[in-house]
Amino acid sequence: MSQAIIHDQGYRRFEGERRGVAASMWSLVVHAIQRALGIKRQFRSKVMPLIVFAIVYLTAVIFVGLAFFLKSFDIGDAGFSYGDFASTSGFAVLLFIAFAAPEVICTDRKSGMLSLYLASPLTRTTYLAAKALGVFLILLTVTLGPQLVLLFGYTMAGTGPGGVDKFIEAFVRAVLAGSVGALMPTALSIGISSVTPKRAFASAGIAVGLLASNGVIHGLTSSEGADIDARLGVLNLFYVPIELAVRILGERNDVAPWNELATGWLVLANAVWTLIFGAMAWFAYQRVSVDR
């Protein structure tokens, strides 16, 4: 029989070493991703990400399945190429763009979390940077993830790139294209979300903004008989990142204005839009008051 002990249940000090600001930022990144994907939240919050995942990953899996069945098929001819996928999954990705940033940005202002965050080791800038990284990673799950599924699937089906060096090249292209597909939309959605604490307004603003600029620019540049400069395409907020991703994948959309627009303009457009919306968010957050 051992000696009887009554343990002290009092306050315990934390004697360990505190992690640095970088770790604080990373835990905010993880938190943002969990929040947007509905992890640790009720089922209601999981519906939206599940639908989007279902659309993009199921499509990718079906493409791969077809490749297995029709051993001889040429993915390019069949319209199943990496670039084709990037273009057609654009609308599912748009759902995510319109939903993710408002979910992780606007709610903090409405729910009072922002005042707790700013009283933590984060600053306005590091807070925003962590949130942006979170949104970027969330978008990567739908811009890069399915591409990798395609790449590995096609390779296993025997229709993928032949040889290790080709595979590595395709892999690098997929990563680059996925990142490009997520980068400018991250800036845009965070920029728009930073001006309102209302999630619905931000989501509507992003969706309407993307769709409307796509509609108008597409309408302007593709209407027959109209003689409009292809460079107007850089104003198509929705398609500018997608088209650049498609080109990184080694393909190109063969419709106006893209068939006439040089890749340099696309790179520039992506960079400039990213900077503009990034600056918009940064300035908005330097000024936002945290009474709540």
């Binding site: 603003g205 309408g219 302007l220």
Partner: protein, 248 residues
């Protein structure tokens, strides 16, 4: 000792009450940010007029854009933003009590709010539709576009005013209504089409041209009468809400 209370003491005249409510909401709605954002939406409409101008089928293109974008998206979204931000917003932030607890009939609140929403939404919608037509050069569409825009704002306000009062997520529901009900279900056939504001406003412009389209199909008289009736119905529902519901 207190002096007696008389039961004659009552509130302001209905006109004064309506005007005061109208003035309040007008100022709340007409913020620079809101007008700028919504006007930029209208600017798209004007830019699309350019497309029509440079096309061979100018009239058909402008007509389609008037219906699909102008009457189908811009007018309802602007009406939604305005109408749901009146009573609905005040209910959501619990400040509605400062109107509800006044000795005024409830209809003055509903009418004042509806009038303010229409007053702010109307110029943005009419200017963008009108400018679009002028830019496109299809001048014969000018007057019908204005009338259609007017009726669209009136009708949509009639829907979104009570929607805002009744529902918490009125903005999202309203957006869903515009994008799903009005745009998709109304293409399911004649019966469903009658249930969309768009079919009435679109008919005004369609009936003014010889173009054959899938939109429209309502007669001009019914198109003129139904949207105002919808507004009246919407106000009635709002009054009923104010009468029956509990106010925070």
């Amino acid at each position: 000792m207190a002096t007696p209370v008389t039961t004659e003491s009552y509130g302001p005249t209905s006109k004064a009450a309506t005007m005061a409510v109208f003035g309040l909401f007008l100022r709340e709605l007409a913020t620079r940010a809101r007008i700028l954002v919504l006007s930029s939406l209208g600017l798209l409409m004007v830019l699309l007029g350019l497309v029509a101008r440079f096309s061979d089928d100018g009239e058909e293109i402008e007509l389609t854009m008037l219906i699909a974008l102008g009457l189908g998206i811009i007018a309802p979204i602007i009406s939604l933003v305005m109408a749901s931000a009146t009573i609905g917003e005040r209910r959501a932030d619990q400040s509605l009590v400062y109107l509800w607890l006044r000795p005024i009939p409830f209809w003055t609140i509903a009418v004042g709010a509806g009038a303010a929403a229409i007053t702010v939404a109307m110029p943005i919608v009419l200017v963008s539709l009108g400018l679009s037509v002028l830019v496109s050069g299809e001048y014969q569409l000018f007057v019908p576009a204005l009338i259609a825009g007017f009726l669209a704002v009136v009708g949509y306000t009639g829907i979104f005013l009570p929607l805002g009062a009744l529902l918490k997520r009125s903005f999202l529901v309203g957006l869903g209504y515009i994008l799903i009900w009005e745009s998709l279900l109304s293409q399911l056939g004649n019966f469903f089409e009658q249930l969309s504001i768009l079919s009435y406003s679109a008919s005004i412009v369609v009936n003014a041209t010889d173009v054959v389209t899938s939109s429209g199909g309502r007669s001009t008289p019914s198109s003129t009468v139904i949207p105002p009736l919808v507004l009246l119905g919407g106000i009635a529902i709002t009054v009923r809400f104010l009468n029956r519901r509990e106010i925070d």
